[in-house]
Structure formats: C-alpha cells, structure tokens
C-alpha cells in the first residue's frame, strides 16, 4: 500500500541535476501538477528525457520557460520555439533521437537489456558516434538503454497498490517510462481502492511504482 503524497512533497524528492523521464506527447498525458510543483520549487539543471518539449505554458514547456532544464533528450521540439532558442544559445543541450528509438532505449533500460539493434537512423546524423554491428549481413545501430533517476508519469486511474490504467492517447511514453525510473512518481487523475482495478485492466503493475500524487483536495 502506498500513501498518496502532495505535489510539493514529491517535487522535493527530485534534486537539482537529476535525470528525469517525463511522460506525455505534446502535453497530452503529462503530469502537469508535478511539473507545476517542480517549477514552484525552482528546480534547476535537470536532464529531461521526453518525447517532446510541448509548447510554452503547457507540460514540459513550463520547465523550459522556468529555466529548469540544462539538457534534453527528445524526438521533437518543433512546437516550442523557446527550447529552440535556448538550444541555439547553448542554454539547453539537446540530443534529438528518433521517436521509435527513444521509446525502445527507455524500454531497454527498464527491462534490463543492454541495448537494441535498429536500422532507424542508419545513414543519417543519428548514426554519428554510434556503434554499428552486422547481424546476418544487415547493418544496425546499437542503441543504448536509457534510465532515469526519476520517472514522472501521468495515469488515468491508480489504486493504492500503485496499479495504473491509462486513457487513449495519454498512454504514449508513460507505461514504458514507469519501468525505467529508479524512483517512479505517478500523477493519477483518480485513486481507487485496491481491488477496484481488475487484474486484466492493469497496464502498469503497482510493484514498480514508488509514489503517487494525492488527488486535488
């Protein structure tokens, strides 16, 4: 059983300089209250790994605006001119990763693989500096696992065992990141008693969740 905690208490667990996986796709399925609390606490120097930087005023965009991020590993930053400017000025170091490769690297970290082999990115700038191996006559990039000190994810329902469900396109990176954070903090929309979510409906087993945010009072 896990007691739900307040966003401020959760944000206090995440130190400056941490590597943080954050769920969401253009702000959909992003733990907004958790992000607000990080901004409020004045978090600095975070490495943020996420699909995208959302847009100013939404999701990860708020962390960008607040100057909380020094490094970003993302697949897309095109809807956030602010992070583009900060990338050019050198304030944020950005590593761009193909979306399918990014999710597999995070999964590899979460499920204890040493990496995955993919043809995505061959012959492109993504190949630069990467190990390339041949398997059965075909060339593949060796893509390394990604783990975060923290995974900050959003879910639809949680029970007090930490079991999670997700809704529609708010799944995105959340179920994968849940596996890859050394500490996993979830922001559910609803918390229900243990036993209310049937076993077959659970998409993330609660045993891998560390903390969850209490509902809005």
């Amino acid at each position: 059983m896990r007691k739900a905690i307040k966003p401020d208490d959760a944000a206090a667990l995440v130190p400056d300089g941490a590597t943080v996986l954050i769920g969401g796709f253009m702000g959909v399925g992003t733990p907004e209250r958790m992000i607000d609390a990080l901004v409020a606490r004045g978090a600095r120097n975070l490495t943020v790994i996420a699909n995208d930087a959302a847009m100013p005023g939404k999701g990860i965009g708020k962390l960008v605006s607040a100057g909380a991020i020094s490094r970003a590993i993302m697949s897309h930053i095109g809807l956030n001119p602010e992070i583009q400017r900060k990338m050019i000025s050198g304030e944020i170091e950005v590593e761009l990763v193909p979306q399918g490769t990014l999710v597999e690297r995070i999964r590899a970290g979460g499920v204890g693989l040493g990496g995955v082999l993919t043809a995505t990115g061959l012959g492109t700038p993504v190949e630069d500096g990467k190990q390339v191996i041949e398997v059965d006559g075909k060339r593949y990039l060796v893509e390394k696992p990604i783990l975060g000190d923290f995974a900050l994810i959003a879910a639809q329902q949680a029970d007090y065992s930490g079991n999670l469900t997700y809704s529609l396109t708010a799944h995105n990176f959340n179920p994968i990141m849940a596996l890859a954070g050394r500490m996993v903090i979830v922001e559910p929309e609803l918390i229900v008693p243990v036993g209310v979510i049937p076993p077959d409906a659970v998409k993330t087993p609660g045993v891998i969740i560390d903390h969850m945010l209490a509902r809005v009072a």
Binding site: V28, S75, L79, T101, A119, H171, N174, I176
Partner: protein
C-alpha cells in the same frame, strides 16, 4: 475523414488538393495508414468511408476518427499534431512502444509524409535544414525505415528551387528507397534503375515536369494523366 468528396475535380483545384486526391488512389480497403501532419493529413478526405481503412496516429491510437463536434473534445484523444480527434468503432489505444513496434515491424501498410528533397536513389530528406531551426525528426525516421509503403506527398518545387534532385543535399531521413512520390505535377516511382515518371498532373506536359526537376527522370512511352478519383 471529414467527408468524401466526389465528382471530377476541376483543373482549377489547388496543388495540395491534386496531391491529396492522387495519393488517396493508392489506398486499398482494409489498410492501416499513417498520415503525416500538414498536406498528408488531407489525404483522409478522399478515401471512401466503406474502405474500412484504419488510420494510425503514432502518438497512440489506431482507428483515428474525424475532428469532434465543438465541446465534445477529449483532452486525452489527439493526433500526432496535437489536434483533437475521435475514435472509430474498433479503435485501439496503444503506447508508444507498441505504436512504433507496429511502424518499425512492418505492420503499417502505408505512410504518407511530406518531403524537402527526394533524390535519384529514391532517398528522402524531410526533417532538417542545416542552419535553420531544427524541430527534430519525431517519428519520421522510423516511419520511412519501417512502413511497408512510403509515399512522399509534396509540391514539386519550392520557390523555383528543385526538390527532386540528383542527390539529396539535406540530411537524409533514412537509407530506404521510398515507394512513390506524388506532386501536383507528377507521379514518380523510384526504382533500382532510377526515378521513373509514371503520370503527369492535369494539363501538365512532360516538358514542364522535366523543367522543374534536376534529377534524371526515366520517361518511357506515353505518360498518362493522373487519376484524381
């Protein structure tokens, strides 16, 4: 997805409409299709409803439906461009690992993407212009590397500059030869021998196409006018 447009198109239709209508002819009943944002997304307007085509948005839904009526948006149901959508009967929610598993694993029948350049090898560059703001490749590299058919939908040339070139000068999206290139002027099929001119746009001559193309185009026999449905 909004509504099916029928009847013969006028020659006065826009370049985008020509392209979207022509690409729609490539779609077969029952296909799983991913449409890029912008021009490619228009293709959905010209696919018959009774085809039972499923649209995938890489952010996590198979069975993407039309834009919802105002006030009926669900903040948890958007397409890869962030626009509100609906879900058709038989839709499935998937996470990003499954979404790209379907793309990379060859389960996606067709993707339609925009392009900056296509070259004689059939290689596509569509994600980055050095020196400009870099948006990131998003899902483009996986889509081009993994989909069964990759269709590039783009205007033939940009501000007088050719986009169909001998060799891409922009960074490539993948080392994979795309399946088909559709512009408002031409339908071009990249093959092992090079770029073959298959069709020409309404009221467009082969000469006009060649004049706006710096890549070598293989032209054999009569080149028919494209069918726009």
């Amino acid at each position: 997805m909004e509504q099916q447009v029928t009847g013969r198109p006028h020659s006065g239709m826009s370049a985008k409409e020509v392209i979207a209508r022509r690409v729609a002819q490539e779609v077969r009943p029952g296909m799983l299709v991913n449409l890029g944002i912008g021009l490619p997304s228009l293709v959905a307007n010209y696919i018959p409803h009774d085809y039972g085509v499923f649209f995938q948005a890489e952010n996590g839904v198979i069975g993407l439906g039309a834009r919802p009526p105002e006030g009926m948006e669900d903040p948890h149901l958007t397409d890869a461009g962030g626009s509100f959508v609906t879900a058709v009967p038989g839709a499935a929610s998937i996470d990003s690992a499954m979404s790209f598993g379907i793309i990379r694993g060859g389960h996606l029948d067709m993707t339609v993407l925009g392009g900056l350049q296509v070259d004689e090898r059939g290689f596509l560059a569509n994600w980055m212009v050095p020196g400009k703001m870099v948006p990131g490749m998003g899902g483009a590299m996986d889509l081009v590397a993994g989909a069964k058919r990759v269709i590039v939908a783009m205007v033939h040339s940009a501000k007088g500059e050719a986009k169909i070139v001998p060799e891409c000068t922009l960074p490539l999206t993948a080392l994979r030869r795309v399946s088909l290139l559709v512009t408002e002027l031409a339908v071009i099929e990249p093959t092992a021998d090079g770029l073959v001119l298959r069709e020409r746009g309404p009221d467009i001559s082969v000469e006009e196409i060649l004049a706006q193309t710096t890549a070598k185009l293989i032209v054999t026999g009569d080149v028919p006018t494209m069918c726009l449905g």
